[in-house]
Symmetry: C2
Subunit: 329 residues, 2 copies
């Protein structure tokens, strides 16, 4: 900027005024400045500008589990779009479900003075964020609530969704329903499992530990679990897969064995209607989830000081057969 000022023969402040489109600069002088800017390829330093003006950094931070997962990348995309409408960019990072890493990333984002944080929490204690919130960096939790912190959250009706899925299976006459889940350490998994158990209890079906498989982290494990359960005595006649990766593995295994066991999966996914066997899923609107969270965050950034809210979005049982294919979007 000093160079531009020198080349145009004006003061620093005049350059600043021209660059920021402030009024009260003569046309001729502005042109001289713009010419100098063009010649030197000057570009305002956004960091210095925000520092001096005490302005927001026009950045929001997003912590998710893994960017490559379609669920999270949809969230990232929607929030980035909404941010763009406010000339704000998205700084995103994956926690990989590691609480330590999550805290590191969150601290890093805070030290960069992001305007706000959108977090799909992995950790079990977010109390260290309280001081940041007090100091003006609002936080909104997504998909799972934060712990030891009173902040906004936008969640899904995981319990209700799982309950309606199992209720459907029970209505179809199933009494032995295998449940496959990632890990009870994850809040959403606990909720979904509880919902499944609600439905079983509603139907007066007792709990059978042999029908619940924990630690199913990927499609291959899911396939193996299905195979194993089907070869036990008194096997399940239906399965509930508690996330989309598990569903994919289960679909594959059931299809390859030619098994006619029923399957309900939590999470819809892009090609679910093209799977090689009928697949009923518990769906929800991922974009709406992200949209609501971003709206809440921006309201906080704009000064909303009302009490933290928790929004729970509904799920929907999408019953589909082989021929019910519809094109996405």
């Amino acid at each position: 900027m000093v160079d531009v000022a020198r080349l145009a023969g004006v003061s620093l402040k005049t350059v600043s005024r021209v660059v920021n489109g402030e009024p009260h600069v003569q046309r001729a002088m502005a042109d001289r400045v713009l010419a100098a800017v063009a010649e030197l390829g000057f570009q305002r330093n956004h960091m210095a500008s925000a520092l001096r003006a005490g302005r927001a950094s026009a950045t929001i931070g997003l912590i998710i589990e893994e960017l490559a997962n379609p669920f999270y990348s949809t969230i990232a995309h929607v929030t980035a779009e909404m941010a763009r409408d406010r000339d704000t960019l998205l700084l995103s990072a994956s926690s990989e479900e590691d609480p330590v890493r999550e805290e590191q990333l969150l601290r890093d984002l805070c030290s960069r003075r992001v305007d706000g944080l959108l977090v799909v929490p992995a950790g079990c204690d977010h109390s260290f964020l309280n001081s940041q919130v007090e100091m003006g960096i609002p936080v909104v939790f997504l998909d799972r609530p934060g712990t030891n912190i009173d902040a906004d959250a936008v969640l899904l009706d995981n319990r209700g969704g799982a309950r309606s899925g199992v209720r459907r299976l029970v209505a179809d006459g199933h009494r032995r329903i295998g449940v496959l889940l990632d890990s009870v350490d994850v809040h959403t998994m606990r909720e979904r499992l509880a919902g499944a158990q609600d439905a079983l209890a509603d139907a007066g079906i007792g709990y059978d530990g042999a029908l619940v498989r924990d630690g199913v982290r990927d499609p291959a494990t899911a396939a193996a679990a299905v195979a194993d359960m089907l070869t036990q005595p008194n096997p399940p006649t239906a399965f509930l897969a508690l996330n989309n990766r598990i569903t994919v593995g289960a679909v594959q295994e059931l299809w390859q064995r030619g098994s006619d066991a029923a399957l309900v999966g939590f999470d819809d996914f892009e090609l679910s209607h093209l799977m090689p066997r009928p697949l009923t899923v518990i769906g929800y609107d991922t974009r709406e989830l992200a949209r609501r969270a971003a709206q809440l965050l921006f309201a906080r950034i704009d000064g909303d000081r009302s009490r933290p809210r928790t929004v729970v979005l509904p799920t929907e049982l999408v019953e589909r057969g082989l021929t019910a294919g519809r094109l996405p979007r």
Copy 2:
């Protein structure tokens, strides 16, 4: 920091030393400072720090077409992971294939003094980036080369891939092959179309404009195009879909009609092995694409001043039938 210094009864510089772990501070004094830091919840301002120290911002910018698309989200994920190994965060934005928006975003990223840029270009002129490169912000193009700029690029062998796909169809006896593409405005599409025509020319099959459909932007359009082409006189006996969204639409339409037309799709995708009809795809390693680009960028950031390189990664024809399902990963 002023408050911390006052509370600890030391000077600013001493606080700075403690916060940055510099040596030559007595244990007792350091403890006093740390206590004050904890009490006040002080967190170093990364922007001011980078500004003063002339240090890098520990941020890289990524411009892609659309974050919600699995291809791009994989790229984002891999680059974010590699960045994290350098304590660098990823500032990502979607161009939505809009050259104007792309330029705005790139300028914004430059004004934030990112350490480097990773770009899947949408625009047709990137000469405005030349001055930024000169001023020390390296740029690496991904998937498509930049225009009017001499910069690194990591590309796929689009032409060779399409050629091998069509060669396969020709070897199976097909002579009328329908080609579906997004837009000839996109570099990768032009290359893939050229590859298809190479293979046809190799086989001595003349060009028939009626067999090429442009402007197929989504699955629904692809399905409609397939339906239309199949109801023309002398219809194609095989299709080449030049990206994964087109492939999905084509799969769906062929399957619903019970058509036995062959189908080869460019781009592999997660559930391609579970599609309801045999699907041969032209695959490649998206993660490797991102990895190589990030490696190049970090080398530039670390001072590599050698001549810009263009890396072309191979594609692979993945021939799959209904029963050849394999689990992903």
